[in-house]
């Protein structure tokens, strides 16, 4: 969260693409986590982001929405015989499943956030660029962080 607030919030690629790494925290909830817990965590993460970014309600609404769909989405990509506390990682899910899972979650997060931010479709192209660009950049950073974390764990 500190990385997001202090570093990533200062990134405005092409003037309007800002990666939202707070999505990475939503990606990491393990299978079987109570929906109530994921919802409360999602809302809290979004609320903190909103407080530091002066975007009242935008991130909390987006994170709550993502928290709501995280568990059903993870069940779609997790193996059928996966354990109840299955943790979605690069290794456990496999490259393509992890990529798809992360892409969908990030896309939903960015779509809700930027649509609430723009609150109009009059400049829909700019909004679309921000959603797609932010999604791709956030996925890249997520993959990078995931690699770093796993590498450190292996060492």
């Amino acid at each position: 969260m500190a990385c997001q607030v202090l570093v990533l919030n200062q990134v405005h690629l092409l003037g309007y693409i800002t990666p939202l790494l707070l999505g990475y925290m939503m990606v990491c909830f393990h299978r079987g986590t109570s929906r109530v817990v994921t919802l409360l965590w999602g809302f809290t993460i979004g609320l903190i982001f909103d407080i530091f970014n002066n975007t009242a309600g935008m991130a909390s609404a987006a994170c709550t929405f993502v928290a709501m769909i995280q568990q059903p989405l993870l069940n779609m990509f997790a193996p059928r015989d996966a354990a109840e506390d299955f943790v979605p990682t690069f290794n456990s899910l496999g490259f393509w499943s992890y990529l798809s899972y992360t892409l969908i979650l990030m896309f939903v997060l960015h779509a809700v956030f930027y649509l609430l931010d723009a609150f109009t479709l009059s400049d829909w192209q700019m909004t679309l660029y921000a959603i797609v660009g932010g999604t791709l950049l956030s996925c890249l950073i997520t993959f990078f962080v995931e690699l770093l974390v796993r590498t450190r764990k292996v060492q």
Binding site: R35, G46, A56, G57, M58, S60, T64, F65, M68, F119
Partner: protein, 283 residues
């Protein structure tokens, strides 16, 4: 009750989700000026459209009342015009004319409850009768012109002999001239009637207005009846046979008014006495 509790327990994450989203959106619209203004603008548009639709529906529902009010207004205006015409005519004869003349004609508004337009003897039933001051031989008009004459009355209903009845005879004249004739219907179209008795030396043009001449004690002078649609000759060749397209549309008419105080019993009695004297002299 148990089902309700089960629902609340099983769907608690849905309730929590809606609650958290509501809190988020409340924050969004409360603390972000741009989103707040867009929200209120859109809400105003939606509310405006909804109120517009409701207003249209409501005004449609009140259309009948509005129509009746318009009809009453029309009748009042016609009455005022007729009074003014008569006052002007009288003023021409006698320049000393007191102000504040009493109302000469009273109208009773009535609704048509039954009518025929395709028979030889068409009749119209209206929902006002003797209890409302209606008596036989009173004139009936609508907002567009003359309708007919009251034929029979009961306590609460009256039968009107309309212009589209073969037994109907109404004195008429061409507006702007003193040539007069009689309106008589010959079956067929309910839109047209025929005027006879207007001499051939009269200058008659198509689309001239035919109106009441006030010779009978049923209608005051100057009430419009229709337009001259065609000019022909009567069977005897002595006068015109004018086809008159009536202003009143008997097929769609709903509201009429009965002129209740134009009929003058004194005049009628005098004419009846004269008729009886003439008959006795003939004998």
């Amino acid at each position: 009750m148990r089902a309700l509790i089960d629902l609340l327990i099983n769907g608690k994450h849905w309730f929590l989700f809606l609650l958290l989203e509501a809190v988020s959106l409340f924050s969004l619209f409360s603390y972000n000026g741009y989103q707040k203004s867009v929200y209120f603008t859109t809400a105003n548009d939606v509310a405006g459209t909804a109120y517009s639709i409701i207003s249209s529906v409501t005004s449609y529902l009140y259309l009948q009342t509005a129509n009746q009010r318009l009809e009453a207004d029309n009748q009042r205006l016609y009455r005022e015009i007729a009074q003014m015409k008569e006052q002007m005519a009288e003023a021409g004869l006698d320049t000393i004319h007191p102000h504040g003349l009493p109302t000469k004609y009273d109208f009773v508004n009535a609704q048509i409850v039954n009518a025929t337009t395709h028979k030889t003897n068409n009749l119209i039933t209206i929902n006002k009768g003797e209890a409302d001051g209606i008596r036989p031989e009173m004139g009936v008009v609508c907002s567009r012109g003359v309708v007919g004459v009251v034929y029979l009355t009961s306590k609460h209903y009256s039968i009107v002999l309309p212009l589209i009845n073969v037994n109907s005879k109404v004195s008429c004249r061409l507006r702007g001239s003193d040539y007069f004739g009689t309106l008589n219907w010959h079956r067929g179209s309910s839109l047209c009637t025929y005027a006879t008795g207007i001499p051939r030396h009269a200058d008659v043009k198509k689309r001239e207005i035919v109106e009441t001449n006030g010779y009978s004690d049923i209608f005051p002078p100057g009430l419009p009846i229709g337009l001259v649609a065609d000019i022909g000759d009567s069977p005897d060749g002595m006068s015109y046979l004018l086809t008159v397209k009536m202003f009143a549309d008997f097929a769609t008419m709903r509201e009429v008014s009965v002129i209740t105080n134009y009929t003058k019993p004194e005049r009628r009695e005098l004419e009846q006495v004269a008729d009886s004297l003439m008959k006795s002299e003939d004998i």
